[in-house]
Amino acid sequence: MNILETKKITKHFDGVYAVDGLSVGFEKGKITGLIGPNGSGKSTLINLLTGVIQIDGGSFVISSKEEISKILPHEVSDYGITRTFQEVRLFEQMPVLDNIFVVLTKRNVFSSLFETHKKFHLERAEEVLKKVDLWEKRNDLAKNLSYGQRKLLEIGRVLAMSNGFGDDSDIFFLDEPFAGLFPEMRKIVIGVIQHLKEQGKTVILVEHNIDIIRELCDHIIVLDNGKLLAEGIPNDVLSKREVMDAYLGE
């Protein structure tokens, strides 16, 4: 069963189509790899589905409910969606711990005014930061972390969204979470993604590393020039001639 479906979704920039009438589905509780050459529309699709940029045409449906043709960024978590960014976007001049607390506490203006972080927030933050091996760095400013640690903190932040407090997310868009990571850090991210799957979460993974795609994904969708090129089980799709031509350059 699809938890998220796009229906002829379209986005163009100055007449150039980044996403062109794309209709794809993402199955609940599975890890779907979203792959394609640079400029194929993968990150644009994530940005459209998380309200970071607005859709020009078409719509999408979450959990078979109403069709959505416009979504604002602050509304996406109401639909159980969370994400990382292709370029890491942390709250740089805030401590690591605060980068996690901020997604655990209340969203309402007035409730948040009378709330400070509590023991259970700290326990949850500790759990998350230990999973991404950043607990020792909890009091460091995010800007002082290494590139890999910054990536891990962003992963930790979305992991905190699968928390059982308020905005518990079901759909996780991870935009190139392995880029620039050392092997041991990759293992941590693989562990987090597998943990999310065990929890029944849906993960949509943008990734260029085909070995990781083969290892992790239940299903892959290949985009090219904003259109669907192929989809299916990784080994089947990756052996298709058109995929190799477009993506692997073989």
């Binding site: 709250f91 948040s112 308020g166």
Partner: protein
Amino acid sequence: MDYFVHIAILIGIYSILALSLNLIVGYTGLLSITQAAFYGIGAYVTAILLTSFGMNFFLSIVIGMIITGVVSLAIGYVLSKFDGDYFALGSFGFNIIVYSIFLNWQSLTRGPLGIPGIAKPVLFNIDFSNNFYFLIMVAVFALLVYFISQFITRSSFGRVLKAIREDEKAIEVFGYNTLFFKLTIFVIGAMIASIAGALFASYITYVDPTSFALSESIFILAIIILGGLANNKGAVIGAVCLVILPEALRFVGFPSDIAAQMRQVTYGLILILLMLYRPQGLIGEYKL
């Protein structure tokens, strides 16, 4: 002694202004250059209510805060359409508009003539005409504002403000409607500034538009940048430094015919050097 009490009262008033602006600029990252407008509205409301209606000073503060709150909500909503430098320019424009209203709505503000004869408050037989008592009152207000600022900035709300400052789009996708947070802190900051205005009007016993010009907003901004953004103690330290500094330069011994100009030059030079060698301010936690 009176001179030192006078300086301390000014430090108190500017501390309140700096704390109010620090919530908006330091914690939320909204480069607002319109705080003098809210300061002025608070001052004019108190001046008008006390001179024309004989109203109680403390009640005038509350009414001033309400009026400033409504005006700042409208201004904040318009400014929410802008980002970054455009926000700063827009806020700049609002300060000029409010200043022009003070200057030209003569039937209400008496324009450039200003409003003289503003009474000092009396509370439980304490006559605040005595500057020492007035200083105690200003100190009580400044402390109250300091603790409110601490309360706000240590709450989850305060953490969201900092996240907005760092990356508004990123915090939005985690379910925060940042417009509400930005408007709330803008209005709170403006209402606090109006308290400083009421105290100023009552202390000086006279208001005119020149006290609330754009240069005053820039001065308040300089205080928080010098003291250190996103740090409430920094705002107070900045106010102490920038109120005392020009006064201290009186004792440097410049030749009398150029003393005033030299004080301005030295004052400017010290600010430039500080920004060159300590851009985060004296105890700042955030760099613009």
